[in-house]
Symmetry: C2
Subunit: 283 residues, 2 copies
DNA sequence: GAGTCATAAATACACCGTACATCAATTGCA
DNA sequence: TGCAATTGATGTACGGTGTATTTATGACTC
């Protein structure tokens, strides 16, 4: 009595038909695997018992979720809201999306898949890495909820299109004598950095939506709170924060600054007189 | 009819005494502000109607929350669980903690406050920045839920002790001719990077707790999923991922690698022949 | 027509944060 | 000495969440 997919023990299998899967997620996975086996993923009709046309599919669910998050922010994103937006019952979503967590992944994947990095990229490793970072940053600007989702899942999102960015970055730097492990680390480091720099964007987007406080007001209030609680004596630098520091700490500027520092640091790994590399992907 | 703290409209003020605050959070804020006004914050007694001793205080609540998160992970952290751990009613917490979101901030602040950076730090800007990053990293290792909380709030946590890290970092690099705005950016960039590099730690901690999958199993499963869905042809680099890449992408190693690249990049901002600076804080 | 199966949905459960009303205890003041 | 004000602590309840379980419906094969 074990789930056919994940092998977990099956609970409450007493009444009715014998159960085969431990959860809807596993059942859905099995179903999708069965669908994926025949070589025609574009034409899923003519399945036994399948209605003439399905009202839903995974793409529609994911697109609706992305649109909702874009429109009303990550706080409004829930299975119920997505379902009502689509005009279907809540549980209908679970036929196409194994769980809320995997919906998050699918949303991230959809956004990245819609904007792949160009092939071939520009010339020169630095221009390439810069482009890849800037393009990812642009995605976070347009979909601020993404940086939130990435962190909320307590694990890196399982999104092939995001992995494609990593792959592209590795190829962007390949051919300069760096070993494979270093390429991995550079690519991951860049993605990690862009994501982290984008986290404040989610906050600003939410604040702009609820029109509660602007970032400036918030920074001012926080500064005053610090002045009251800790006293500026202990934080001499923070005590001098003014317009200049505020401007410098704007997410956009932090991103730009850190990006260049990081690229500079990567440059030091490479042999100094390296001539410009050939086209991408030629190893 | 507006809240005396935030000015928001007061709903449902018909029956009973007229309300003065829009929420318990505001009422608590007003109460705390009133407590802070007299110049003796250590001796708040002799208030009218104040009981002799309170069973709870903010410190106990925050400590219980931190202990709970350490013990059972961020998923188990809720107001109800904290309350039962303390043996009090749920709503009793709200007398000392304005809201769940601010409890998050207080938890982060408590952890950072318990481990301040040393004064004076070591010699040399690089050793200092490295120490500050490594010490923050150590905190995330010990309290993996922190990286999660930082991101969940959709805004940087309001934690003075965390701001103290920023201040320390700015002082660590001060005296090398960098302008104030650049100091701000360096300090924020380092903190941002450490936090983001720590996000996978939360995942691993949770996985280890539920003993579902190890990181190695998870990476393997993900690789197979990619091979099935996208096909390795489109991701030539990822297709070659093996033990070496797995080892390289270990959070600890990503952190170390990125830290050194970042410090290298910062070093390029400084004049090359700069002699070692004097003791910290001398401007 | 019976049986099998996938779709879709309704219901239900356990949980969350927290607004609200209430109670007893304490104190200052009339 | 009473009374009003104020606080700590709490119980109850509301509207929300993700999703397990169950049921109804239709389409297909035999």
């Amino acid at each position: 009595m074990a789930c056919e997919v994940c092998g977990r023990e099956l609970r409450t299998a007493e009444r009715g038909r014998p159960r085969r899967y431990c959860s809807r997620a596993c059942r859905t996975r099995a179903y999708r695997a069965r669908l994926a086996e025949p070589p025609a993923p574009e034409e899923p009709a003519a399945q036994p018992g399948r209605p003439a046309e399905a009202a839903l599919d995974q793409g529609r669910v994911v697109r609706a979720a992305v649109a909702l998050a874009d429109r009303e922010g990550v706080a409004a994103l829930s299975m119920r809201r997505v379902a009502t937006d689509l005009g279907v019952g809540v549980m209908s979503l679970y036929r196409y999306v194994p769980s809320r967590e995997e919906l998050n992944d699918l949303m991230v994947d959809a956004v990245f898949a819609a904007r792949p990095l160009p092939e071939p990229g520009p010339d020169g490793w630095r221009a390439r890495l810069e482009l890849s970072a800037r393009q990812e940053w642009e995605l976070y600007r347009r979909h601020p909820w993404m940086s939130h989702l990435v962190a909320v899942t307590t694990r890196p999102p399982v999104a092939p299109a995001l992995m494609a960015y990593t792959d592209w970055r590795m190829r962007a730097l390949d051919g300069h004598g760096l070993d494979f492990a270093t390429l991995v680390q550079v690519a991951i480091m860049i993605g990690t950095y862009v994501q982290s720099a984008a986290v404040p964007l989610a906050h600003e987007a939410q604040a702009a939506r609820t029109s509660r406080h602007t970032r400036r007001e918030w920074a001012q209030a926080r500064k005053e709170a610090f002045a009251r609680s800790i006293g500026a004596a202990r934080l001499p630098m923070v005590a001098e924060f003014g317009d200049e520091a505020f401007e410098a700490s704007e997410p956009e500027n932090i991103f730009e600054f850190g990006l260049h520092r990081m690229l500079d640091g990567i440059g030091l790994l490479l042999p100094p007189d390296q001539s410009p590399p050939g086209p991408m992907g030629t190893q």
